[in-house]
Symmetry: C2
Subunit: 208 residues, 2 copies
C-alpha cells in the first residue's frame, strides 16, 4: 500500500528524474511555496533542463499530475487477477484511509489537496482532475459490476454507487489534511457499513 513508486528510488530517464525532484519538492514545500528553484534543488542534473522542458511551475506540475496518473494506471490493473470484488474495494479504501497516516503520505496528500484546489480557478487543472476522476470511476464501476455479475453484490446501479464512493473518497482525502482530526476510523466504519448494507448480498447485511 505504501510501496514506493519505482521512479522515486531509481529514476530511469530525465523525465523520471524531474518527476522525482518535483515529488520531493512538493512534499517538502507544498504548492504555494514551490518554485522551479526548489525543484532544481532536488534535481541532480542541470537546472536549465527544467527551464528547457517547462514553461514555469504550473506547466511542470500539470505534467507531474499526468505522470502520477499514469503511475496509478500501471499500479491499478483494469482487471484484477485474484481476490473478490469486495477485497478489491477494500484495497482501494485501505489506501485512502490508512491509519495512522505515514509522514510521507501526509505530505503528499497535503500537496494533492492544494493542487486539486487550483482546479477551482484553472481550467488546465480542472481538466486533469476530471480525467483523473474518470479513471477511478472506470475502475470502481468495473469492480462493482463484477460483484453483481458473480452474484456477491446486490443488483445496484454501478454508476450511481460509484459516483457516491468517488465523492466520499475525495471528502476523505480533503478532510484528513485540512482539520486536526487525521483519523478517519469512524467514517471508515460507516463506509464499511454502507458497503455491507448496500452491496453485500445475504446474511451479512442483516447482521449490520
Amino acid at each position: 500500500m505504501t510501496t514506493t513508486p519505482s521512479f522515486l528510488e531509481d529514476p530511469s530517464d530525465t523525465r523520471d528524474a524531474i518527476m522525482r525532484a518535483t515529488y520531493f519538492a512538493l512534499c517538502k514545500h507544498g504548492y504555494a511555496d514551490l518554485t522551479i528553484q526548489r525543484i532544481a534543488d532536488e534535481f541532480p542534473k542541470s537546472k536549465s533542463l527544467l527551464y528547457h522542458h517547462y514553461d514555469g511551475k504550473d506547466d511542470l506540475l500539470l505534467d507531474f499530475l499526468e505522470f502520477m496518473l499514469e503511475q496509478q494506471k500501471e499500479r491499478i490493473p483494469a482487471k484484477r487477477s485474484s481476490g473478490s470484488p469486495r477485497d478489491h474495494l477494500n484495497a482501494i479504501f485501505d489506501r485512502v484511509f490508512v491509519s495512522p497516516i505515514p509522514d510521507d503520505y501526509r505530505d503528499f496528500s497535503r500537496a494533492m489537496v492544494e493542487l486539486r484546489a487550483q482546479a477551482a480557478h484553472d481550467e488546465k487543472y480542472r481538466n486533469h482532475f476530471t480525467r483523473s476522476d474518470d479513471f477511478f470511476r472506470e475502475v470502481i464501476t468495473r469492480v462493482i459490476q463484477s460483484g453483481i455479475d458473480e452474484g456477491t453484490f446486490h443488483e445496484v446501479d454501478p454508476e450511481q454507487v460509484t459516483e457516491f464512493l468517488l465523492m466520499t473518497i475525495t471528502g476523505a482525502m480533503t478532510k484528513r489534511v485540512t482539520t486536526n482530526n487525521e483519523t478517519l476510523e469512524t467514517a471508515r466504519d460507516e463506509l464499511d457499513a454502507y458497503v455491507r448494507f448496500r452491496l453485500l448480498a445475504d446474511e451479512e447485511s442483516a447482521s449490520q
Copy 2:
C-alpha cells in the same frame, strides 16, 4: 436556500462592510489573486481602515471565515422548530447539492475550496476548519439523534453516521468545483438511497 445573507445587502457596521467587500472580492478573484487592494476596491470606506484592522490578507480572510461561520450558526438553529429529522437532513443536502449551481454560489464554493486547501499547510486555517466541522458535526448528530428518539430513524450510532455524512459533504463541495462535472445528481440519488437504507425505519428501506 440561496437567501442572501443580510450583511451582503445592508452591512450594519464597519466589520460587516469589510466582510461584504471581502466576500465580493473573493468571489471575483479567488484566493490566489486576492489582495488587500482588491478588497479595498469593493470597500466604500477608507482603505487605511483595512490595514488598521488586519495584518494582511490571511489575517483578514481568517476573520472572514469566522464571520461566515457565525452567520451559519445564526441561520442553522440548533433545534429545528418544525419539520421532521428527515426534512432537516434533506434541507442540509439541498444546500450542498443545489443543481444547477447558481453563479454566485459557484464562485463562493470555488473560493471556499481554495481557502480550505490553505489548511493543508497553515495551522490557523486548519484550526478554523476543525471548528467549522465541529459545528456541522454537532448539528447533524443532533438531527440523527432526534430521528432515533422519535422512532423514525433506525438505532444507528449517530456519531458514526455523522462522520460519514460530513466526509461526503466535503467531497461534494470539493468535487463540483474541481472537475468539469458540476452536476452531482447521481451522487445525490445514492446519498438519498443511503439515508433510506441506513436510517429510515419501516417500509421505505425495503422498496430501495
